[in-house]
Symmetry: C2
């Protein structure tokens, strides 16, 4: 085998079609029906979801305004990928159908229900199910939606999607989300020094100020 000299340009991959493809998925996503949170029916599948806030909490007033006519501005975007996806131990065709996306929405519903200042009935969700080989696209769709919408709980306030760190790891600090929306039992156990609520609120206000209708 001949060893070639180093030439960076031989390693650069570019495919314009990929960008178009992600745009197509985002368009599809924005056309899917909006449902209450958690989903009214249990369903099978993995994919990408968005949560929309429509309530009256004054710190999120900007979302009420932005979503007045249609749900365009999620407060959070997330994904549920097939088990074993990271290690790719199993081919997608072998993956047993899972209710992972549905369960993720339920889990978020519990966080919202326990968070001070939030009312589950004020939330709506959208989701897209991506199956089989297409599931490799889940991360790309999620990233595109986050980039496009800069959802506050992804890009401005950390911690909504966090899990109980478990025994022996409570030396961490409460996340910014848990500072604003106290109430998750495991978050109350954390011993680290969290950020000041006033600082977090200022950063929320700043983030929302910059969200604009395209």
């Amino acid at each position: 085998m001949i060893r070639e000299p180093f030439d960076r340009s031989k390693h650069v991959y570019h495919n314009e079609a990929f960008v178009e493809l992600v745009k197509d998925a985002v368009r599809f996503f924005n056309g899917t029906p909006v449902h209450p949170l958690p989903s009214p029916e249990k369903f099978l599948g993995t994919g990408v979801y968005a949560l929309y806030y429509t309530g009256g909490n004054p710190i999120y007033a900007r979302y009420k305004e932005l979503n007045r006519l249609s749900y365009d501005f999620p407060i959070y975007v997330g994904k549920a990928v097939p088990d074993g996806w990271r290690q790719s131990r199993i081919s997608d065709s072998e993956t047993t159908p899972s209710t992972k996306l549905y369960r993720r929405l339920r889990e978020h519903s519990r966080s919202i229900s326990s968070g001070e200042g939030l009312n589950l009935a004020d939330f709506l969700c959208r989701f897209v199910i991506v199956e089989k080989e297409g599931s490799d696209m889940i991360g790309s769709i999620e990233a595109a939606l986050i980039k496009l919408n800069q959802p506050l709980w992804n890009s401005g306030v950390d911690g909504f999607g966090n899990h109980d760190p478990g025994r022996g790891r409570y030396e961490q600090a409460r996340s910014d989300w848990d500072v604003v929306h106290t109430g998750r039992v495991w978050a109350d156990r954390l011993n680290g020094i969290p950020n000041d609520k006033s600082d977090v609120l200022a950063s929320i206000a700043n983030h929302l100020k910059n969200l604009k209708k395209l």
Copy 2:
């Protein structure tokens, strides 16, 4: 806004072009030049890489055999994504060019150099640089390469890509990789009970037995 009844089929996204696109990226990857490890030159970029083993360690003899004529079977596949990618805080066009992929290869070189039974000169690497909006595709390319090649250090033996867990977290056990290739300083500090070396070796033999030329 009219709330629609729940209909799963309205949420399923499918795009055949995506599967073709990932195949195209994999073909490009397999055509890129092979280089020694670490890369002979520093370069800018994020993307996907693969490591190939060509040495004489008998537990990896199957790789020597499989890669005799061309480098088709990586022992490890990994990715380096732009900073802030997970939160998508920054658009890719704003990302400062980074040497993350290059640094990842250097980091792996250090792990290999300290691992018992391994010789850095027996490794080769391949990598593809994926830039700008295309960087959302990095995870999909990595997943496809892992699924296709079932690299031993991704799919059969855990831990090669691990990092020093840091102070206060040494209660974990050494990974299977560190059981077979002792020597990483931080891994030697771990206090948990690792798997038996004989079990790990048996699982390696079993994994490699099933790797086949397509």
